[in-house]
Symmetry: C2
Subunit: 431 residues, 2 copies
């Protein structure tokens, strides 16, 4: 049996390049936009503050700055990468000087440090001085490190952030606006990782289990609920002084929290699985598409929705299609997946097939859609040729008013639709 040929090829070309050490030479599935990161995340080194500290200060290290979750860019569709010296005045000489244990012991909820994320290392970069080499027990990891840092002006770093942002603005570095759908695959993937983790930290400053403020650890990939808080000493001291003249030794201890005595998922970043599906009719010659009221006229896409607790992806596909369109789906096959960092989705793309007795459209269950319709494959093929665009943009020059419009190639919806009308559901082996 020849190597690499034991699982047949997929019909679609990749839309994102696969540059990472883990997939550069090997991955052959549909790699959707926002995937295709060039980094090895070396997640097992995130708890090693000696590594993080060396990575932070290495000359090969790059920093992505964000403001209100938008990245600093050096031009249209191009991330700006900063050096340690550019941001030292905000993050300090070494935010990783302490071990996690020491950080937890010294926790002070009133001390605000800008949120940082360790993104990973680019192992395509090597050579003395050009890349960091770090040995952890017996293995050595070599590459150029990447971090993201939130420079939204606030708290005690407000003025310094504002100063830096003004300075960069003078050098032509601005913060992006909107949602990028035309960036290079590596830039899109790096930004996706940074954005999703910065957003998660920003949405979860308090412990959902006990309501107390939490501390970011593990290179930005975990939040922990410390047992003590130095700022309590200050507030308790103030209270004590107001009622007694002696000098007490106020406690810094916080109420107990269940997350301290076991592993709880509320401490870890959240990713919400969603399903997105191209549904074909029983005869295999029509595809179900829907539209939301706020979309441009004639614009349709695949149906989609959040997976619910305790259902399989296949069940979620059937439920969402039924809720939104009334169609009953039988067979479901998963096609490919796409990270979607707005704020934290994992889109699981599937192809489903309606059963003959379940093809009648009914928008009356959950009125989420403005319309849903069966489209002939031929009409869809024509729309893929002339009518695709990003949501805010015009269709191409050959597009004729009234014709079907569809999402761009960087959307997994486009990949699913394209797969289906180009033979995915033909009965031949496609995956």
């Amino acid at each position: 049996m020849p190597p690499k040929s034991t699982i047949p090829d997929l019909p679609q070309p990749s839309t994102a390049s696969n540059d990472s050490m883990l997939s550069r030479k090997f991955g052959r599935e549909v790699a959707n936009y926002f995937s295709g990161s060039p980094l090895n995340r070396v997640g097992f080194l995130r708890s090693d503050n000696v590594f993080l500290s060396q990575a932070l200060k290495h000359p090969s290290t790059s920093f992505l700055a964000t403001k209100d979750l938008q990245p600093l860019i050096s031009g249209p569709a191009k991330l700006a990468w900063l050096k340690f010296d550019d941001i030292k005045s905000v993050i300090g000489e070494d935010p990783y000087a302490q071990t996690e244990e020491e950080m937890i012991k010294a926790y002070d909820s009133e001390k605000i440090v800008p949120q940082m994320i360790f993104l990973g290392i680019d192992e395509a970069i090597s050579g003395e001085g050009k890349a960091l080499s770090y040995t952890n027990k017996k293995n050595t990891y070599t590459g150029a490190p990447y971090f993201a840092v939130d420079l939204t002006p606030k708290g005690n770093v407000k003025e310094e952030c504002e100063r830096l942002i003004k300075e960069w603005d003078g050098r032509g570095l601005k913060f992006a606006t909107g949602r990028p759908m035309d960036w290079s695959a590596p830039d899109a993937a790096l930004y996706a990782e940074a954005r999703q983790l910065l957003d998660w930290n920003a949405r979860n400053p308090f412990c959902a289990q006990c309501g107390q403020p939490t501390l970011s650890v593990n290179g930005g990939f975990k939040r922990t609920c410390p047992p003590t808080d130095a700022s309590l000493s200050k507030s308790r001291l103030t209270n004590a002084i107001s009622t007694t003249s002696s000098t007490p030794t106020p406690s810094t201890e916080r109420p107990p929290c269940a997350t301290r005595t076991g592993i709880s998922n509320v401490c870890f970043p959240r990713t919400d699985p969603t399903v997105i599906m191209a549904v074909v009719n029983a005869a295999g010659d029509k595809i179900l598409l829907g539209r939301q009221r706020r979309w441009p006229q004639y614009w349709y896409s695949t149906l989609a929705g959040f997976a619910e607790p305790a259902e399989s992806v296949e069940e979620a596909v059937r439920r969402e299609v039924y809720e939104e369109s009334g169609i009953l789906v039988g067979r479901v096959v998963i096609h490919s997946t796409q990270p979607w960092p707005y704020p934290a989705n994992l889109m699981i793309g599937a192809v489903g097939q309606a059963v003959p007795e379940g093809e009648k459209i009914d928008l009356g269950n959950d009125p989420e859609l403005d319309d849903a319709k069966w489209f002939d494959f031929g009409e869809v093929r024509e729309a893929l040729r002339v009518g695709t665009s990003a949501l805010g943009e015009e269709a191409g020059p050959e597009y004729k008013e009234g014709g079907l419009r569809l999402p761009p190639q960087t959307a997994i919806a486009h990949q699913l639709v394209s797969s289906v009308v180009n033979g995915f559901a033909s009965g031949a082996a496609k995956i």
Copy 2:
């Protein structure tokens, strides 16, 4: 083109029956344990308190009681179903008497009501008196409703819960222990839905955005951060009285919270996507399995781990296999999925193939595994025949000490291994 044949069959028989209206007649994929729910969740009715109230009191309605997340059972592997009258003394005459808007306005963080989950309706049940019929705008939904209710003794319902539990105990109804892996598919799926949602509510009594206590709404599928809290009036009144003799009108208003002005995922149940994968070697005749130290001797399974923010499932598979075993995976195909309610996982099962230059096992990156090894397909087929069992149980009578042991048929790991050694990676069309 004949209907239903446009997407080829999967090689594996279902391990769970598909009883639901949405999949009963149609689903043909591998339906893993904990999927296969017989219910239509009718999620769009969860915000309709008139529906919930009617469902609660209908004679066809069943209640699953839990204590510390364990379900009440009427015998080994059999859920006990209660009626409204059995639990009325704890939940009250009608916990759904108010609309969500009214509940939020009347919010009092000191008032504890047992957590309830609306699971869905069984549409296989119909007929006057035997099933609830409810018309929402233009559609009518008919079936027997199902709820779960947490009867863990605590707060103001502690004594009544204890009394009921003792009474049921006398009738032979006990709470289960451990994790059931041998229940019927419908019972397992119903319990999975109940458990995951009860657990999520229990882990998230506070708003992660602002630290204030939250209110369960939407049939248990959402938590909201109310703008006022009646109990603040009481505490502020107490404080006010201690410092002044006049009678103030204390405010019940809480500090602002960002979740009140937009949609935030922290308000919705959390599901953590995980990857679990059978990895074959480049030649397609060996499979990679690993073991954890706490497992019985000779017991191996597929590798698995949590998906990280902003990576595709395919990337997560490559990263986890690299971290845990050092193996470099090229091609990845998703096989099937399994809900896993301990506490909130969605297991996404995949088959991956190592590249020829990446087959060397290295446990030194992230030392999670006690061992990882390549196994010949022949050895694995024999283990599937004689050496499978649940974790705490003995292998079958034909098993010989020293032979490979594997997880039971109800585990997705078993399904993946079985698929691979029975031809999934042979090049023939299997999905």
